[in-house]
């Protein structure tokens, strides 16, 4: 066994470091899914009639739909009747300041390094901490309110800004869009809502932490971001989940609407429990994320670092409707052990002079499977569309798989579309070169992987980039970091 193999083995045997369970009383409804459960969720959340209608429509549609099987994934059958669709931390009273938040909850966040308190002052990050579906605390709301920015939990938005929610809900991801989006639309528990008014540049990074906590509860988040004319916002989403033995289902929906000249930057670091070395447990992550560049000169940029989850099924997409609009997708997806990921993007060019850029870096180790699946579509009237896609795969070990499934559909002659993909492994030469210069093999692998992913990591906001690098190290490189 060469030193590299030893290292690989050591690295791929590394266990998940963020596993712990918070012991908080939660209000859980009985397992199972039927129309009454949908009504009950709506009732518990004190929702208006139109919201319930939306849920019911989605639920009825969901019943007719079939789980997609086209992805390069082996998904064990999911029993939707054995999941509880609602769990909220019991609130004793309304909270006005951090001091009133349950200490145990705060401890959890601190263990994860979520900067709920410190960052409030230091980094200027407003955190909407979502723990098991209900917003516990939203900070910086007052600061944002001054600018007219709405950043609140989804249920709050439904109560306080029904017109806005009603107008934009389901625009990017209709309730019948796909199996998991329909499920989410029917039973979504909570999430974040964000509205940036005309001409406002959001002064801070908005950030939400999702946590899956109570056992046996699926998490069905829904995020809606609306950026009005000439506005700008950068939104961060990051997750680490406690260790669990049973598989947990997560079917989130994220919708982004960008109006004229608006720009939205959405960054994700996803590190849910990936299951243990033998592929037992882990989160099933089926996410629908889509942004619409509705206005001319608008721009939506997705950046994701995917290291967790047993199964990832996720395609953050851009619909480029406005002329001169722009979509970007940067992704690092890392799979280890028995993890499976089928992730990528869709870029739908509809407006004239639209541009899109795709940079995807897959890293597979252990016996995992990592697929890129993407669509670039240029419709008939999308003159002068331009796309460049690059999908690279890095294989670590001989038992993992790296796959690429790009779809390119072009119906306009003025389009220029390019796609390239390569597959490689860390070569002996590279390691040797580093060794020669006094860098041991562990550090060399770490350096090479980080260098390989740099192009994407660079697109993350500062604090996130550090966290992401740490995650890559943790997920792959064992003690190296």
């Amino acid at each position: 066994m060469t030193e590299q193999d030893k290292l690989l083995e050591q690295v791929t045997n590394e266990d998940y470091k963020f596993g712990f369970v918070t012991d908080i009383e939660t209000d859980i409804i009985d397992i199972g899914l039927n129309e009454d459960v949908v009504r009950l969720i709506s009732l518990k959340k004190e929702e208006p009639e139109w919201m319930l209608d939306f849920r019911l429509k989605a639920y009825r549609k969901w019943l007719e739909m079939k789980a997609p099987d086209w992805a390069y994934l082996k998904v064990p059958p999911i029993d939707y009747q054995s999941i509880s669709y609602y769990a909220a931390p019991k609130q004793k009273k309304k909270l006005n300041s951090l001091d009133e938040v349950d200490q145990e909850l705060l401890d959890t966040f601190n263990k994860l390094g979520i900067p709920l308190e410190e960052q409030k002052h230091l980094a200027g990050v407003a955190v909407d901490a979502v723990m098991d579906s209900v917003s516990v605390k939203t900070t910086f709301k007052e600061v944002l309110a001054e600018k007219g920015i709405i950043f609140c939990s989804f249920s709050e938005a439904v109560r306080e800004f029904p017109d806005l929610v009603k107008k934009y809900l389901g625009n990017a991801v209709p309730y019948a869009d796909n199996y998991f989006a329909a499920l989410n639309s029917a039973v979504f528990s909570d999430g974040s809502f964000c509205y940036i008014p005309k001409g406002v540049r959001c002064p801070m990074e908005l950030s939400t932490y999702f946590r899956i906590n109570a056992a046996n509860t699926g998490q069905f988040e829904r995020t809606l971001i609306v950026a009005d004319d000439d506005s700008y916002v950068s939104y961060l989403e990051g997750c680490t989940a406690p260790m669990r033995d049973e598989n947990q289902l997560h079917a989130a929906v994220v919708e982004i609407i960008a109006m004229e000249r608006a720009e939205v930057k959405y960054s994700t670091v996803q590190n849910w429990y990936p299951g243990d070395k033998n592929g037992k447990g882990g989160i099933y992550n089926f996410v629908t994320k889509r942004g619409i560049c509705r206005g001319d000169y608008s721009k939506i940029s997705w950046t994701q670092v995917e290291t967790g989850s047993a199964i990832t099924w996720k395609y953050p997409s851009c619909v480029l409707m406005g002329d001169h609009s722009k979509g970007e997708f940067y992704s690092v997806a890392l799979t280890n052990h028995h993890q499976q990921a089928d992730t990528g993007t869709k870029m739908i060019h509809i407006g004239k002079n639209t541009k899109s850029l795709i940079v995807s870096k897959g890293i597979s180790a252990g016996v995992s499977n990592n697929s890129y699946r993407g669509l670039v579509k240029v419709s008939k009237r999308a003159d002068n569309a331009r796309n460049f896609s690059q999908c690279d795969s890095l294989l670590m070990g001989s038992k993992c798989g790296a796959h690429t499934f790009p779809y390119i559909e072009c119906a306009n002659k003025s389009a220029i579309l390019e796609h390239e993909a390569t597959t490689s492994k860390i070569s002996e030469d590279q390691i040797f070169y580093c060794n020669q210069r006094g860098i041991d093999t562990e550090d060399a692998v770490a350096m090479i992987v980080n260098g390989y992913a740099k192009e994407v990591l660079n697109k993350l906001p500062m604090e996130f980039a550090v966290e992401a690098q740490k995650l890559l190290a943790l997920s792959l490189e064992g003690s190296v970091g």
């Binding site: 086209w70 390069y72 240029v378 008939k380 795969s393 294989l395 670590m396 070990g397 001989s398 038992k399 993992c400 798989g401 790296a402 796959h403 690429t404 499934f405 790009p406 779809y407 390119i408 559909e409 072009c410 119906a411 306009n412 002659k413 003025s414 389009a415 220029i416 579309l417 390019e418 796609h419 390239e420 993909a421 390569t422 597959t423 490689s424 492994k425």
Partner: protein, 455 residues
Amino acid sequence: MLETVNYTATEELTDLFYQNIEMYREGCPDFMNNPRGKAIGIFKRRGIPSRKNEDYKYTDLRPVFQNDFSVIPRYVEQNVDLHEVFNCDVPQLNTHLILLINGWYYGRNRKMGNFPEGVICSSLQHAANEHPELVEKYYNQLAGQSEDPMSNLNTALAKDGLFFYVPDNVTIEAPVQVINLMNAKDHTFAIQRNLFVAGKNSEVKIVFCDHTLNQQYYILNNLSECFVNDDARFGFFSVQNQHNGAVNNTHFYAKLGNHAKLDTNVITLNGGIVRNNLQVKLAGEHAHANVNGLILADEKQHVDNATSIDHMMPNCTSSQLYKNILDDQSSGAFSGKIHVFRDAQKTEAFQQNNNVLLTETAEMNTKPQLIIDADDVRCSHGATVGRIDEDALFYLRARGIGEKEARLMIMFAFAEEVLSQIGVPVLRERMEELVDRRLRGELGPCQNCSLSHKK
């Protein structure tokens, strides 16, 4: 007279098979008849592919079977003007000529006396009865593993086609030219089944020309299985030049042994709807597959090429290059898959798909895929869709070349990359000339033979 069975709905294909099962079994040995039941079962279950079938995402074959058409379950002697057909024997190409009509091996083919000893070139049905042990060893070994409905339909209905066998250590220098004619009085659905076997260390090149002799509505379902044994070299050049009402659905399955080499080139000059499936299994070490295609489509033509290269053993190499030039309202599709099996280390696989759209209304869909389960490999694919480079055009025009001619030069240069892969110089020159004429719009879709010099 042709003996025909008329039918209307596509779903009736299955019933018709059962109703005429005796006619299909007639004259065929058991190893051809036995797989029919399973194959029709798969066809029935999966149905004629629509866009919902992921493998046929860009080609819906259902409308193709909406028209009334006949099938020909028995060989019928035809009076083909031999002089006209064989006229296209190009002297300097020095080919061996074989004629197939409506999927059947033409009974009056001249005896191929000049083949080396041991070479068998005959009707598949004839060979299956004459050399059962030889044919049985290979027949349906590759197609039988496929889940493709159209390929299974072929297995269910197959009766005849070309059987070509080259014994070990035999080299056939001159290319073997197969003229595949469609010529019937009615709209016709033809099934053709070919089997090529290249023995160890042998070499053969086959030129396959698909043509239509008249303007009937034709559907051709053509399946070829090709076995390239250890150290053998096999070349397959397919020239598709059918009229715009024809539907050509081909399946080409190849399996390569150690150090075997396969070259395929498909050149689509004309056709209504063309769907080419190509599947290569690199089942021996150090095997090499070179798979190329050039598609020129205009009007409302649709050409879809689906390739799949399985790297099953270590140290194999493969290279794919497909180019489409799409004019008018034509549409093209390419779906290429490279699958590197676990432990197929030291694989080098390369795939490229470049496409030019000449008009606002042309459409191109491409789907290059990599499935890689081994780590010490070098695999890459690239796909582009674009238009004629304005800078290149300007460069040529600045040198006094008219716009039309400049465009042609650029398109020809684009096509040349594929044509230059054709290993037989005479054939390459002929192809270059044909492509040039095709680009200039001077090539009729119904000329009897693309290799003829008829003016």
